[in-house]
């Protein structure tokens, strides 16, 4: 049983990694009061940009992740122009970004359909990787999985312990007050949206250069939307987001091990599980209105013109 558990748990971490990146990015964006529903689109653009960079330069993931981040941030700027500079409807702008991103990535991806990349070898941490059970699960992952944990720590630390974090949260609670004190609200929100785009792009690039590693049209398959749902589930707190992502990673990876565990369900039912789990999780967290009300950034989704 334990032998079966190790690959499942190890796979959980890898499957959760794109969600951690995209979710942390969206969490920061929403903390500043902006709701960008374009995560799915940014992930896909990041995925194809990362894949193209990895394939063309020959530097693999080392080129793929930065390219994904850049492309994600660049597409996020389209959203920022419409939703922040023009104060257009944020939810609808996010949807437009998703539709645009799906189209753009498929358009570019046409040239990369039959490529495949070498992926990334695991990077076992000396000594720690030899611990039974925990070692192979936690310390024999690829470098990007460790990077996602570093990103979690950085975001959590920034939000709770730094002046910047305080400023971001203040803008999310009351952009009018922050503006009145003299902070450039729109500019800071632009920065947050760019960060969110870069993180979604990295998540996408991880999918296409490490996790799969090949380009398939629409390969994020709703992970961007699941990341948005995770932020709600996490009540805008990084640590809860991390655990939420692992929960989803586990549900996602389960379908590949179901047969070995003696679960004889049609593949489609297992593949639908992460989406059903998202609904369940949303229901559980939304049931008590106070939980959401108390944690919701007060200006979330509301247009702001100084």
């Amino acid at each position: 049983m334990i032998e079966q558990l190790i690959p499942i748990l190890a796979g959980t971490l890898a499957a959760a990694t794109p969600l951690i990146f995209a979710g942390l990015g969206e969490l920061v964006v929403e903390r500043t009061g902006v709701m960008n529903l374009g995560v799915e689109g940014m992930m896909l653009v990041g995925a194809i940009a990362g894949f193209a960079a990895a394939a063309e330069t020959g530097y693999g993931v080392a080129a793929g992740l930065p390219a994904g981040a850049l492309a994600g941030a660049a597409t996020a700027m389209i959203f920022a122009f419409f939703a922040l500079s023009l104060a257009a409807n944020q939810a609808a702008c996010g949807l437009a970004l998703t539709i645009f991103g799906i189209g753009l990535s498929a358009f570019i991806g046409q040239n990369y359909i039959s490529y495949s990349l070498p992926g990334l070898k695991p990077l076992p941490i000396p000594l720690l990787a030899d611990i039974p059970l925990l070692g192979p699960v936690l310390f024999a992952q690829d470098a990007v999985v460790y990077l996602s944990l570093a990103a979690y720590a950085a975001v959590a630390w920034t939000l709770t312990k730094t002046r910047l974090g305080l400023l971001l949260k203040a803008i999310g609670e009351s952009p009018e007050s922050a503006h009145a004190i003299g902070y450039p609200v729109i500019l800071i929100r632009f920065g947050a949206v760019a960060f969110g785009g870069a993180m979604a792009g990295i998540g996408g690039a991880y999918l296409s250069t490490v996790y799969t590693p090949l380009w398939v049209q629409n390969m994020s398959a709703g992970r961007g939307w699941i990341a948005v749902a995770l932020v709600v589930f996490a009540t805008w707190k990084p640590t809860r987001l991390l655990f939420g992502a692992y929960l989803f990673g586990f549900v996602t990876i389960l379908q590949f091990h179901a047969q070995g565990l003696g679960i004889m369900l049609p593949v489609q039912f297992l593949a639908a599980l992460p989406y059903l789990a998202t609904i369940v999780v949303l229901v559980v967290i939304s049931r008590d209105r106070r939980v959401l009300q108390n944690n919701l950034p007060a200006s979330l989704g509301k247009p702001f013109l100084p």
Binding site: A88, N89, L95, I99, F107, A221, G222
Partner: protein
């Protein structure tokens, strides 16, 4: 100092010119795109937007694509007025198609005239139920319908995949994930000789008429608008927000489900994995572009259908991926939302 300032009252002129501005801006951005790809700009536009309309066949194909878009968008517009954001019409379309297709498969070989009405009814019920589910989750558990409707559309596509590769797979279909081809009495009758235009167009026509009457005549419509614009006033007036949620999501589910039946009993003729090229999502743009107005949606639906046809033409004559359709759709929605800002705001005049 910001560039925009609020208008004293919303501009009626901008409300109707915004879509036109958005279309022009999309064309400009599109020409930039063609140019950056090294394609001849004017020729590309000709292929994309003019050629499809130069033949009667092209016009009939335009109608075929516009029908489901308009049908779904009329249903979505009801909810959008009340700010109920159903973005999972694609899933409701799929479940409607499955329900209608199930009837066609089980009644295959019967020569009853009731097959078609039964399919339509089943499609409406299927789509309506798939819309009712997020309504239940919203009213009972307060779960936001944006995410639940979308997640349910992924679930719907897995159900479709399961049904056509398992229980309903055509035994003589070389193992392709598809059902049997439907018999004649499970297909909408062709209206125009030599084209694929069929009687499902009446469904769309009925929806346009119904939505127009609903807008012009019903008290429910007034409740929806008040609920969307002034939730507090709506509560004070004693309008039930739960009723609004149920009504919006179930009605839009029904129209999407009907559109699904229109596809499988029309141009597609069976259940397979490609019953909709994203009509459920494109219809969101159609609803907004048509200003949530019954007839506006008809025009917007025709334009969106042209973008689909143009994408197909560009694939053939310009060797461009069909995905260009998605790029145009995204740009159109962005520019529309950008122009809509000027309904309530204007450029700040220098002091």
């Amino acid at each position: 100092m910001h560039l925009l300032e609020p208008r004293a009252r919303p501009s009626r002129l901008m409300r109707w010119t915004a879509p036109l501005i958005a279309i022009v801006a999309t064309l400009l951005a599109g020409s930039l795109l063609f140019w950056s790809l090294g394609k001849p700009v004017l020729e590309s536009f000709e292929v994309f937007f003019i050629q499809p309309m130069t033949s009667s066949y092209g016009w009939s194909e335009l109608l075929i694509k516009a029908c489901p878009l308009i049908l779904i968008a009329e249903g979505l517009a009801i909810g959008f007025k009340a700010r109920i954001y159903n973005i999972g019409a694609e899933g409701q379309l799929i479940i409607g198609a499955l329900a209608g297709g199930g009837v066609a498969i089980y009644m295959d070989g019967s020569d009853s005239a009731w097959v078609m009405p039964a399919m339509i009814l089943a499609g409406a019920i299927g789509g309506g139920l798939w819309g009712a589910l997020p309504a239940l989750l919203r009213t009972r558990f307060n779960a936001q319908e944006t995410l639940t409707t979308l997640m349910l559309s992924y679930v719907a596509s897995f159900i479709l995949s399961f049904m056509v590769s398992g229980p309903w797979r055509d035994p003589e279909g070389m193992n392709f994930p598809q059902s049997i081809m439907f018999g004649d009495n499970a297909l909408f009758a062709i209206l125009l000789e030599g084209s694929r235009v069929n009687t499902s167009i009446y469904l769309t026509g009925a929806a346009v008429l119904a939505f127009w009457l609903f807008n012009a005549r019903s008290f429910m419509h007034f409740q929806l608008e008040v609920g969307g614009h002034a939730p507090a006033a709506s509560r004070y007036a004693g309008f039930s927000s739960h009723q609004t949620v149920w009504f919006s999501l179930v009605v839009s589910g029904i129209t999407a489900g009907l559109a699904g039946v229109g596809e499988i009993a029309g141009p597609v003729g069976q259940l397979n994995l490609n019953i909709s090229p994203g009509y459920g999502f494109a219809a969101i743009i159609v609803a907004y572009l048509g200003r949530l107005h019954a007839l506006g949606i008809v025009l917007a639906g025709l334009l969106m259908a042209l973008i689909y046809l143009g994408g197909e033409a560009a694939q053939v004559s310009l060797q461009m991926p069909f995905a260009i359709t998605g790029i145009f759709q995204g740009m159109l929605l962005f520019f529309l939302l950008g122009s809509d800002v000027f309904i309530d705001n204007r450029l700040r005049r220098s002091a």
